[in-house]
Subunit: 344 residues, 2 copies
DNA sequence: TTGTAGGCGTTATCAA
DNA sequence: TTGATAACGCCTACAA
């Protein structure tokens, strides 16, 4: 009783061939009613479950998709992953999850493993930097579809589901300007990453459009992690900006920790707009003005697209750009300014 | 060139048998230096990568572990998953991630799929309720190790890595009492879940020890989701408790939303202690007093234990109970009380 | 040390 | 409609 029943056991039990069993399991080619019932009975009796590993080997299809994110511990990604899992699930796929920590090395290892495990496709949030040639070669040979998530990387594929980061950043900075901020700083993600560049560009162009100076000193490149926000805060605040746009949540937390240490208050001492929104940001003070990104949708759309590719859709590459949404609350100091004007 | 090179291709290319190739790939039984080099050259030339699906079929080992959590979108789980992934990774395993939404049905489907995919073991945060007999039967037959995460379920296995929830809740409530709260309410998780029961018990016993009344009206059973915290808040606040212990973060957010709607302030109008801590709770107001749970460690220890089981360790069941840590901040109103006493 | 051949559990081709 | 039988790609006795 140690081994699980195989298709052979079922065949023997019901006195038919494995072909027939296989046919009823996958309800294929019309199997005679009598046989079908006998087989089904045997299946129940032996508690037979197809071995999907064997099936994968025969089919060359695992119904598994690999998903590589920088860090599932970064609160941005869980919802993206959840979205992807929901879509995958719906189409009968599973998710093999990997963390790259934005390291090219880990990313490469993860991809190699996923390829060896013969996943049907990969959802990738590309780490900063370029693939090494051997890996590119390998990927080309294997020829499974990739869909990029949140970050483009045209050298690999043009299929990507991202957010309109340029626009989001532009909105954020314009809003800061509308709130009366004049010296606006930026805590950016790693500029090698496509969306960080986009956000930087949005920041830059919005300043220009508002007639505000772009001060190199007020631009700090972080890595989307909390600590880098903290460090950025320390060096940024010494230059006394009156407004700051921070490119993600984790760095915002770090920045606010730095502000706290330096005795600076938001929005009194500096206005703040942050990227990605969370339920708790609406209730704690200061209420953060943020640019919300549709995380769950990002995941589902990416997975849907990937599955379409897996199942043979070879239509032209799609670059899906989801729209962010500015959520105005208090950290930008908009209310503050209104209050001051009332006094005058 | 459509197909990836197989072990046969390598064998042919280097003029040896598949056995020899297999041996050098897994650097097994001493292969003659000359042959080894020839084989290695062929491997590089053909860019050969072992097909892990085929290997799994032959070995009866997938080096994949299944992980089922209620919802990766609940901020509690990402770090647990990350911990598990780190440990898995370290030992050469991958994580197949599933969400159960605390639904028995989804949980069952997920387990069946994981078993069919022949994962080597499963990390499970059990959904509320009991397995149905056929599933239990199936699990017993397949005989792969399970390790429970965060929630016990002795009917399945006694291997579990959890937190000392009783103790954590006890501490939380005692602290509320020390802060001078007299009518303390509870927003609990689903009482069918082991840790919700533990937290309830800790709540109950702490009240008793402090000589405070246990008021049934002030105990509300939620489901660990935000909305249930919101509803709980609405019904709870109408009874005017002066202290509340909420059993997780998401429900706390919901509860605070309700408080806001009703114009109640924390800690002035009610003291609050919440479970699980996050970096942002230290910087926003009100600063939440929480009981931190070692999420990452939970994941790594669970994965380590599971892998030990997978690799044959049959020592007696381990119930690992990690210690929570009370982080006193301001939402309990402790500072408030101190301030009042000073005035007197 | 190396090769041969059979098995892992399915699917799929080709006859019957 | 069914049944043998050969893939799928790898591992591993058993032989040589």
């Amino acid at each position: 009783m140690g081994k699980a029943a195989s298709i052979y056991d079922v065949a023997r039990e019901s006195g038919v061939s494995v072909f027939t069993v296989s046919a009823v399991v996958n309800n294929k080619s019309h199997v005679g009613k009598g046989l079908r019932e006998r087989v089904e009975a045997a299946i129940r009796k032996l508690n037979y479950r197809p071995n999907l590993i064997a099936r994968s080997l025969a089919n060359q299809r695992t119904h598994t998709i690999g998903m590589i994110v920088p860090d599932i511990g970064n609160p941005f990604f869980p919802l993206v992953v959840r979205g992807a899992e929901d879509a995958a699930q719906k189409h009968g796929y599973n998710l093999l999850l990997c963390n790259s920590d934005d390291s090219l090395d880990k990313e490469e290892k993860a991809i190699e493993l996923l390829l060896s495990k013969r996943v049907d496709g990969i959802l990738l949030t590309k780490a900063a930097g370029d693939f090494r040639p051997p890996l590119r070669q390998m990927i080309k040979e294997v020829d499974i579809p990739f869909v990029l998530v949140m970050r483009t990387y045209p050298k690999l594929t043009k299929d990507a589901v991202i957010t309109d980061d340029y626009h989001g950043a532009y909105e954020a900075v314009s809003h800061l300007a509308r709130a009366g901020r004049k010296r606006i700083g930026l805590v950016s993600g790693p500029l090698k990453v496509s969306n960080a560049k986009e956000r930087w560009q949005g920041f830059h162009d919005a300043l220009k459009a508002e007639g505000l100076p772009y001060e190199q000193d007020l631009v700090i490149e972080g890595d989307y992690r909390l600590e880098s926000g903290f460090r950025a805060g320390h060096s940024l605040f010494s230059r006394r900006p009156d407004g700051i746009y921070v490119a993600n949540h984790l760095m915002t937390i770090g920045l606010l920790q730095a502000a706290e240490e330096m005795g600076l208050r938001c929005p009194e001492d500096f206005g703040l707009v942050s990227f990605d929104d969370y339920p708790w940001l609406g209730i704690f003070r200061p209420r953060l003005t943020t640019v919300e990104l549709p995380k769950h949708q990002l995941g589902t759309e990416a997975a849907e697209l990937l599955i379409k590719r897996i199942t043979g859709d070879a239509s032209k590459p799609v670059l899906r750009k989801l729209q962010p949404e500015l959520r105005i609350r208090e950290s930008c100091g908009f209310g503050l300014r209104a209050a001051e004007e009332e006094k005058e």
